[in-house]
């Protein structure tokens, strides 16, 4: 059998993705205790946070996906952008500001006089995580919904089924994979997030690993990481079982709501925007007004964008062969699965592993390259998934057509596959850029000495308790991420014009 051209590069990516896992296993073999009651509590906290966040994301994300895909509203695009925007905001920024805003003595109490329930622990972490991860579910479900032809719903309704029943019986069963894919991203994100549970003082794996690392318990941190990765492995297994049925694209359903229905939708979902976007912006603005631009060093912003930009480019260059390998055979699919490990490895763990790895390779230690490697290893699956999806949708007869017109495989790739999947590639790059921008924990550990980024600066401000200084980096993080989101959305718009 002929080996697909994408395999060697994909194999390299897969092997590289296994390096941190290998390091962790080596480290963990030094650890003594395997599992104790403290572990059980951490496990309980982690799983509770994950389950609550997934449920919350589905409850918010699925109805919003339905509305944004089918319901004809004024300013449709604007609403979609607004509800996708929380994805662009790092969740620890939400945790930071919600923590500061709520509770006795919080900003809301000081400003408006009335007391609000405090925001911390499991409840607080679950609320914050949900607010910033539901767009995953919304976007994946929305794209599944848009690929459905309206004819089946129309058939159900002409057969006498009500609209809500048709949604449950005809639409939901066909987008369940889209919901599952989004939920899985939410679950993986929640498992690996460090900032939110750390700021909410919830002892999840990531927080405890950081504590252990700082207490020089490298091997214990590694063992906890391995336990966490068992859960990740299980989720990845589930993900591999999800089959995406490809339906022939048709004309999606269109619904025209009455004014009272519009109002009901607004009242239901506006609080999400208020909490996720308006509140953090308001708090940062408040701090900015109170403290002013207290000698903020803007080279920190450049550092963030520079490192993330390099990571985005490298990730895409690696993602294209990995995605193609995944589509050309079973072995390729396994290699693609392996690269997903990085997404599940919490940044703090990746940081730990690469610090250890860097100590063995002095050439890399304390360099920007090591940080970029960490970003790429962590966020490669975002780029791969994006490229793979756009490649899957590519009609195979287009390639065949180019080939019989006399184009070599290389020319067919350059002139047909690449332009038609460019949107997926750009979206993938934007996603990696966004994630790298807000990456906190690996940057804390791997950033070269003196290389401060927006996120690490924010963390130091939080630890030191100078909340007011968070204003500029916080606002900048939001603005830069919003730009990334805009790039991603314009890619989607362009492809809609073409199809």
């Amino acid at each position: 059998m002929r080996i697909p051209a994408s395999y060697p590069m994909a194999l390299l990516a897969a092997l590289l993705a296994l390096v941190p896992v290998y390091i962790l296993i080596t480290l963990a073999s030094d650890a003594t205790a395997v599992f104790d009651s403290h572990n059980l509590k951490i496990l309980g906290n982690t799983l509770s946070l994950m389950v609550l966040t997934v449920i919350g994301s589905i409850l918010i994300g699925v109805p919003l996906a339905f509305i944004s895909a089918y319901v004809q509203l004024p300013f449709k695009k604007l609403w979609l952008v607004l509800f996708a925007a929380p994805l662009a905001i790092p969740s620890y920024i939400g945790a930071f500001t919600l923590y500061a805003a709520f509770g006795p003595g919080g900003e809301i109490n000081q400003l408006l006089g009335f007391e609000t329930p405090p925001m911390y622990g499991l409840t607080g972490a679950a609320i914050v995580m949900t607010l910033y991860t539901f767009p995953f579910v919304m976007l994946t479900t929305r794209s599944s919904l848009l690929s459905l032809d309206a004819s089946m719903v129309n058939a159900a309704r002409t057969l006498g089924m009500s609209m809500p029943m048709s949604v449950f019986k005809v639409i939901l069963p066909r987008v369940i994979n889209g919901i599952a894919a989004g939920s899985l991203l939410v679950a993986l994100y929640t498992l690996s997030d460090f900032g939110t549970p750390a700021m909410m003082r919830l002892d999840t794996f990531t927080r405890v690993i950081y504590v252990e690392y700082n207490a020089f318990g490298l091997s214990r941190a590694a063992m906890l990481s391995l336990q966490l990765m068992v859960i990740v492995g299980f989720l990845l297994f589930i993900e591999s079982q999800i089959k995406t049925a490809s339906e022939r694209h048709g004309r999606p359903l269109m619904l025209f709501p009455s004014n009272s229905q519009k109002l009901a939708m607004l009242v239901t979902f506006l609080p999400v925007l208020l909490l996720a976007i308006c509140l953090p912006l308001a708090i940062f603005t408040l701090w900015l007004a109170r403290d002013g631009i207290a000698d903020f060093d803007f080279s920190i912003a450049w550092n963030s964008a520079y490192a993330s930009g390099i990571a985005a480019i490298v990730a895409v260059v690696v993602a294209v062969p990995v995605a193609h390998a995944a589509l050309s055979g079973k072995v390729g699919r396994i290699m693609e699965r392996v690269t997903y490990f990085g997404f599940g490895i919490p940044g703090i763990v990746m940081g730990t592993a690469l610090v250890y790895g860097g100590l063995q390779l002095p050439l890399l230690y304390q360099t920007l390259a090591l940080l970029v490697i960490a970003y790429v290893l962590r966020f490669l699956p975002l780029a791969v998934g994006s490229v793979r999806t756009s490649t899957e949708h590519l009609d195979s007869s287009l390639i065949k057509s180019a080939r019989v017109l006399g184009a070599s495989p290389r020319e067919a790739f350059m002139r047909i596959t690449l332009p038609l999947t460019l949107r997926g590639i750009i979206a993938g790059a934007a996603l990696v850029f966004l994630e790298s921008m807000r990456e906190l924990e690996a940057t804390l550990l791997l950033g070269p000495t003196g290389f401060e980024t927006l996120s690490t600066y924010l963390w130091r401000v939080y630890e030191a308790g100078y909340f007011g200084r968070a204003a500029i980096p916080g606002l900048l993080l939001v603005v830069i991420s919003a730009c990334g989101l805009a790039i991603m959305l314009s890619g989607e718009k362009r492809s809609q014009l073409e199809h």
Binding site: D395, S397, L398, K400, S401, A402, R403, V404, L405, G406, A407, S408, P409, R415, I416, P419, L420, E498, H499
Partner: protein, 336 residues
């Protein structure tokens, strides 16, 4: 000239095409017909080099492909027209047609001939199905292939469009003087546009011949039924005359030489008389076809034969009628 010998194709352990032999003359159009899943599209994919072959040989003179000797699609000088058009969505009509042409003036001939002048700078998404297929055809012919493969080019189009586009495609192929294999599941299309017709069943060619011979002298009952209304009536055949309850007729034995035979009757081989003194059958159903009516008549022996009468003859189900064989050309007979 394209010649295919002993071509077999497998999907896994499943043989989907076996021992196919065919050759294509200069500027000849060969129609390949068969029911869904008979392997006709698979043959085209194999000829284009898009799927591997298991046995046999494909030879165009300038290249030769066998299971060992692989020739990539781009080296085969083949043109292919797809059922779903396969136009590149990110390119304009002009860019699609000139996909790999350095000299774009070659495209102008086909743009003009196929009436695409007004759409030159449009994206495929804005075109109708018929226009898309014209663009696909123009793209194929502008690249000057040595042979063309058409994979059910009309099956995604409206019935009204099919008829005109069918002849536009045929005329364009003849204008280009390029041989073509045209796959369809529509027997009417197969009989009318092709120079020759090949009938496929379960991956095996049943007959390749002129449309006339395929229709009047089918090599077996499957071909007879597939290409049009067919009824069979029992009879005896001595020499080249067949004797049946409905009369005698000249006959040609298609398969084994036996005395007891079944005679193939097409609707226009049977003459139907209303209000006859002696009836020999009863009308079971009638289909109005505009200029004519197709009637099924059940004979005393329970055999059902179909007959086509003028639309002026008002036949109704239940009528007692008299039917008889009325033909001058020889009928095909098969061993009973």
């Amino acid at each position: 000239m394209l010649s295919v010998s002993k071509l077999s194709i497998d999907y896994g352990s499943n043989r989907v095409v076996s021992e196919l032999n065919l050759s294509l003359g200069e500027s000849e159009i060969l129609m390949l017909v068969g029911p869904t899943g008979c392997g006709k599209s698979t043959i085209l994919q194999a000829l284009a080099g898009l799927i591997p072959i298991s046995e046999g040989e494909i030879n165009l003179g300038s290249w030769r492909a066998t299971p060992k000797l692989k020739v990539p699609p781009e080296k085969r000088k083949v043109g292919m027209v797809f059922q779903d058009f396969a136009l590149f969505p990110h390119l304009t009509v002009q860019q699609n047609i000139c996909f790999r042409l350095t000299d774009t003036s070659k495209a102008d001939h086909w743009i003009k001939l196929l009436g695409l002048e007004a759409f030159r700078n449009k994206k495929p998404a804005t075109l109708s199905g018929g226009q898309k297929q014209r663009v696909a055809l123009a793209r194929t012919l502008a690249h000057e292939p040595d042979f063309v493969l058409l994979d059910e080019p009309l099956s995604n189009l409206d019935a009204a469009l099919k008829d005109t586009l069918r002849w536009d495609i045929r005329n364009a192929l003849k204008d280009a003087g390029v041989p073509a294999i045209w796959v369809t599941h529509d027997q009417e299309e197969a009989l009318s546009v092709g120079d020759r017709v090949g009938v496929l069943k379960e991956g095996i060619i049943q007959q390749i011949d002129t449309p006339e011979r395929c229709f009047s002298l089918p090599s077996n009952r499957f071909v007879a039924r597939f290409l049009g209304e067919a009824s069979f009536i029992a009879g005896n055949c001595e020499g080249d005359i067949a004797t049946t309850d409905l009369g005698n007729a000249p006959a040609i034995k298609v398969d084994h030489d036996t005395a007891k035979v079944d005679v193939l009757l097409r609707p226009d081989d049977i003459h139907l008389i209303q209000n006859a003194n002696s009836s020999n059958g009863k009308v079971t159903w009638v289909r109005y076809e505009g200029g004519s009516r197709l009637c099924a008549v059940k004979l005393a022996c329970d055999t059902v034969v179909t007959s086509r009468v003028s639309h002026e003859v008002m036949v109704r189900p239940g009528d007692a009628v008299h039917v008889s064989i009325n033909t001058t050309h020889p009928l095909a007979v098969y061993a009973a």
